[in-house]
């Protein structure tokens, strides 16, 4: 019986949620493809989470002795492990770190890779990847050229994180190989880029703006509404990229996860990175001109209209 590899992602002594999500899917794939589940954990030693992780896999390969994430060294270590174990499938996270090593690993191995996948299907005994394209407006089913193994990177939030299956993972410890190449990149520090005067994570009502607001000069019009409603102004990524608002207003994967009672989204299309940040919201009301905008797939209430008409109407009601 062959193996399916899951590459654990962890940071500052904590397992990243996406690792559990990949394990959930890998468990399902192991059954469909008659494989065993091996978790590859690089760089963590005797962490408290090891016991939890081993109950989610048949085997944990714990490669010890790497202080910080380094994509080049991950690539090299995984290259050797994959050559030795020949797993049919290797899952890694589609995160900034996963993106750093997985595509180059696929080149080094000569294995095909599908990235940013939201599901993995099995078709006639072969894995296929499901991806979202065109800002989530369409799905794409991707097949691989025949190869000894395949790599798939998984989008955060694609699967549940719960523990499944009855695993008594055997922990196999090994040191980081002594003959790794000298790293060409050196970790310096983690820094918080998002702190500021407003804490959007504590608000009951978030009045949030996206690209649809159009220009910097229009931001105060929505800010005024937020103040009138005793809400807090937040935004999606393009608003920060364009310097219309500082980063501490940003909701989403690279900003903050929020949990207001109501999230009022004006001109936000609903890219998955944004939607991932509002899963904790009690109720989402979205106003957007584009009826096909992905935000309407996750919103509780939708309004298809020019956002400023609604902003003005709300202001008039509150005057």
């Amino acid at each position: 019986m062959g193996e399916i590899f899951v590459v654990a992602e962890h940071r500052k002594g904590e397992v990243r949620e996406v690792t559990y999500q990949m394990l959930w899917k890998a468990n399902d794939l192991c059954q469909k493809l008659s494989q065993t589940l091996t978790l590859v954990l690089i760089g963590a030693k005797d962490e408290p989470f090891l016991n939890d992780l081993k109950e989610r896999a048949d085997k944990v390969l714990a490669v010890e002795g790497l202080a910080n994430f380094n994509g080049d060294l991950y690539k090299e270590i995984l290259f050797r492990l994959i050559q030795e174990h020949k797993p049919l499938l290797t899952l890694a996270a589609h995160t900034p770190w996963g993106m750093d090593f997985a595509p180059s690993l696929s080149v080094k191995l000569g294995y095909p890779i599908a990235t940013d996948c939201v599901d993995v299907l099995v078709d006639n005994g072969k894995p296929k990847a499901l991806r979202q394209i065109y800002s989530g407006k369409l799905f794409s089913k991707v097949a691989f050229q025949d190869a000894p193994g395949y790599l798939i990177t998984i989008r955060s939030g694609a699967f549940p994180a719960e523990k499944v299956g009855d695993h008594k993972g055997e922990i196999v410890r090994m040191p980081v190989p002594a003959d790794l190449p000298r790293p060409v990149k050196q970790f310096v520090a983690f820094e918080d880029a998002g702190a500021g005067e407003v804490d959007i994570t504590q608000a009951d009502l978030l009045v949030s703006i996206g690209r649809g607001v159009g220009e910097a000069d229009k931001v105060p019009m929505v800010k005024e509404l937020a103040d009138k409603m005793k809400g807090v102004l937040s935004c999606s990524r393009p608003v920060v990229d364009k310097n219309w608002l500082p980063k501490f207003h940003q909701v989403g994967t690279s900003g903050k996860s929020v949990k207001p009672k109501v999230y009022l989204a004006f001109g936000i299309s609903g890219a998955f990175q944004h939607v991932a940040g509002i899963t904790g919201a009690g109720c989402v009301i979205a106003v957007n001109k584009d009826k096909k905008a992905p935000i309407f797939r996750v919103a509780d209430y939708g309004v298809v209209d020019d956002l400023f008409k609604i902003v003005d109407a709300l202001k008039a009601k509150l005057a």
Binding site: K141, Q145, K185
Partner: protein
């Protein structure tokens, strides 16, 4: 400093109803408007800012047909010194093939720094940059939102999740994939594009690069594209803005938001 920037022209798909092509492996593109990939716009701006500070040249490269030269002209207008379009003919390209073609071309060009966007807006693989670096044996970093460069080394900020940045030092020559928001891309006027028409724009056939058949063989194939499964989705509030506003205020009250 010799900087190469890989750019791409992509269809605009916001506020557009996409139609699936008869072959079911892509969308119908005839009616779509095109722009420079947003990430690439930041990458070319970053390259030009580095050149303005440290000197050198900026070369923009794209793989595409004649229509795609539009983005190269734009890069030239922004301040790139020269541009190359690699014509792929009828080649079916996945990120592996794209990265192979770019690598083969770039090997023949001087390069101290290669910039790409984090991903293309249409298919969002986010894989070409890392693969390209692997082919070229270059140090690389992904999702970069700040670069400070000296001759031998760059200090970079990689954007992680939750507002955390990872600061690290990377040897140069290197490849960096650039995140949106790293700078403020300059405005490009029609006049500017006209002026840049005199700058060098070269076309290279992919068949002249000397790639082996295996390098041009896609490793992934799109079997089918389809609309997302129907979900319950939002309940739509209909009516004029005043009616909609009343309904929104009613919902806020129901959800316990004090106004």
């Amino acid at each position: 400093m010799e900087i190469i920037v890989c750019v791409k022209r992509v269809p605009m798909t916001q506020e557009v109803d996409l139609e699936i092509s008869p072959q079911k492996n892509d969308v119908r593109k005839e009616m779509l408007a095109y722009v420079i990939n947003e990430w690439d716009n930041y990458a070319i701006e970053e390259a030009i800012q580095i050149k303005e500070k440290l000197g050198g040249t900026v070369t923009a490269v794209t793989i595409g047909n004649e229509d795609d030269e539009e983005v190269l002209r734009r890069c030239l207008a922004m301040g790139a010194d020269k541009a190359f379009r690699i014509d792929p003919g009828n080649l079916v390209m996945d990120p592996f093939v794209i990265s192979k073609v770019l690598a083969q071309f770039i090997k023949g060009q001087p390069h101290d720094l290669i910039l790409t966007g984090v991903q293309r807006d249409d298919l969002n693989e986010g894989a070409v940059g890392t693969m390209l670096a692997e082919h070229l044996g270059l140090p690389h970093a992904e999702v970069v939102r700040k670069v400070e460069l000296t001759d031998k080394e760059a200090t970079i900020r990689v954007e992680l999740e939750g507002g955390t940045d990872e600061v690290s030092k990377i040897q140069v020559p290197a490849l960096l994939s650039i995140q949106t928001g790293i700078n403020e891309p300059r405005y490009v006027s029609i006049m500017g594009i006209r002026k840049a028409a005199k700058k060098e724009l070269n076309v290279v056939g992919v068949d002249t690069l000397g790639l082996a058949a295996a390098d041009l063989q896609a490793r992934t194939m799109v079997e089918e594209i389809f609309l997302p499964p129907e979900t319950e989705g939002a309940q739509f509030i209909e009516g004029d803005p005043a009616t909609v506003a009343d309904e929104i205020l009613r919902i806020l009250k129901e959800k316990g938001v004090g106004i």
